[in-house]
């Protein structure tokens, strides 16, 4: 039973916030078989903020360049076109989300948690030798975006919700379902869908607390699920979900990474997290 009409909330949300036009333009330029890196680079330089971000990314420890990357074209060749699409989407989505900043939410801890989850997802995917890991970063970064909607659109309910969450015994998503009829994972998934982001992002966000119910992209979903738990366990939790959410052991089995890799994964998360945080500051 839905206490609140989720559809109308998502609708009103997506009407106000339309996605910046530069994102589809970059996607189109990258996908154009006759296009060149030059064209892509030119579109990117139209937005100085975006250019600066990309340079920062290319210079981060994740890409381990032996020398400083100074030009956009060099940055593009290092990042690669497919990853570029994901990065650009990430940068603009995060920008869109920051308008939800309210005093009810501690945005600092929210983003710390999101970044840590994104980094953890990317590290786990790398350990599994999956290619193009930026999409995992993006999914992790956005996995809790539903919280922002709940805390800005359903202010009436949030007080009761926080009260129950603070008891800490029950997972937050279950409490949300009890109180609202849906949880932040569903809200987030629906919003991303409305923004027409690809299904490989929507699915993992939508099912990140219930990975066994995911109809497709099971591996992606499992990785985001575990990544959130890893991030919380490393004390990168948000003020909303303060505890480590319950693990679905089937998700870890599906990923199939040996337990002996966990200490290395944790260490990598720590290093890359600090780098990733710098990109947002």
């Amino acid at each position: 039973m839905a206490v609140v009409d989720l559809d109308s909330i998502i609708d009103s949300e997506s009407q106000i916030a339309s996605f910046p036009a530069i994102v589809p333009r970059i996607h189109k330029a990258v996908d154009d078989p006759r296009g060149s890196m030059d064209t892509v680079g030119r579109i990117i330089t139209e937005d100085p903020a975006l250019s600066a971000r990309l340079l920062k990314v290319a210079n981060s420890s994740f890409y381990t360049s032996p020398f400083p990357v100074k030009s956009i074209s060099r940055a593009l060749t290092m990042i690669g076109t497919k990853q570029l699409k994901d990065l650009v989407t990430a940068i603009y989505t995060v920008k869109m989300c920051s308008k939800y900043a309210r005093k009810q939410i501690d945005m600092d801890s929210f983003w710390r948690h999101s970044i840590a989850c994104g980094v953890a997802a990317r590290v786990i995917a790398t350990a599994k030798r999956i290619m193009n890991t930026e999409r995992f970063y993006l999914a992790g970064l956005l996995h809790d975006v539903g919280h922002l909607i709940i805390y800005t659109k359903l202010v009436k309910h949030t007080e009761e919700l926080s009260k129950r969450c603070n008891l800490g015994k029950e997972p937050v998503y279950k409490l949300e379902r009890e109180l609202l009829g849906f949880d932040h994972a569903e809200v987030g998934g629906r919003l991303l869908k409305k923004w027409q982001l690809p299904d490989e992002l929507v699915g993992p966000v939508m099912y990140h607390h219930t990975p066994s119910q995911a109809p497709d992209f099971q591996m992606e979903t499992a990785i985001i699920h575990v990544a959130e738990i890893v991030a919380s366990s490393m004390l990168y939790s948000s003020r909303i979900e303060t505890k480590v959410p319950p693990l679905d052991p089937a998700a870890w089995d599906l990923i199939g990474t040996p337990l002996s890799a966990v200490p290395t994964i944790l260490e990598q998360v720590k290093v890359q997290f600090e780098d990733a945080v710098k990109m947002f500051s």
Partner: protein, 138 residues
């Protein structure tokens, strides 16, 4: 011959097989004795386990593991209360959490990590930062 976790490895052990990083890059050949510097390099390159010749050495560790004081353990248990500590992955994360809580006693995830104070990234030694104490034990 025994495959041990990199955390259990100690200087003086002898490699029984080549040590490789996550992508299969060879770092140190079989038969070589491991030094503290090698260990640091292994960790930097993401080596998770190595094959060493004598297993007796590796077992020395275990005992030293977690002699966390009670309040920290309790705090960590609280943090993990929605999870089953019997699960091997959770147990691993739980132990790491205790270690981390001991390192930063009162800090409870509100301020950004000393991000601004950090010197330039991409310096390899940085990735083993924070773990130094683990080796300091020896």
């Amino acid at each position: 011959m025994a495959i041990i976790r990199i955390l259990d490895a100690a200087p003086g052990m002898v490699l029984a097989a080549d040590a490789q990083d996550m992508s299969g890059r060879m770092l140190l050949g079989a038969g070589k004795e491991i030094t503290a510097k090698h260990l640091k390099t292994f960790r930097t390159w993401g080596v998770t386990e190595i094959d060493v010749q004598d297993s007796a050495e590796g077992e020395k560790r275990a005992a030293v593991d977690t002699k966390a004081d009670e309040s920290v353990t309790k705090q960590a248990q609280e943090h993990f209360c929605q999870n089953d500590l019997g699960n091997p992955l959770i147990a691993e994360l739980f132990n790491n959490c205790i270690v981390q809580m001991q390192k930063q006693p009162q800090k409870k995830s509100s301020v950004k990590p000393e991000a601004d104070k950090k010197p330039a990234r991409r310096q390899l030694p940085q990735s083993s930062r924070g773990q130094v104490s683990r080796y300091g034990r020896r």
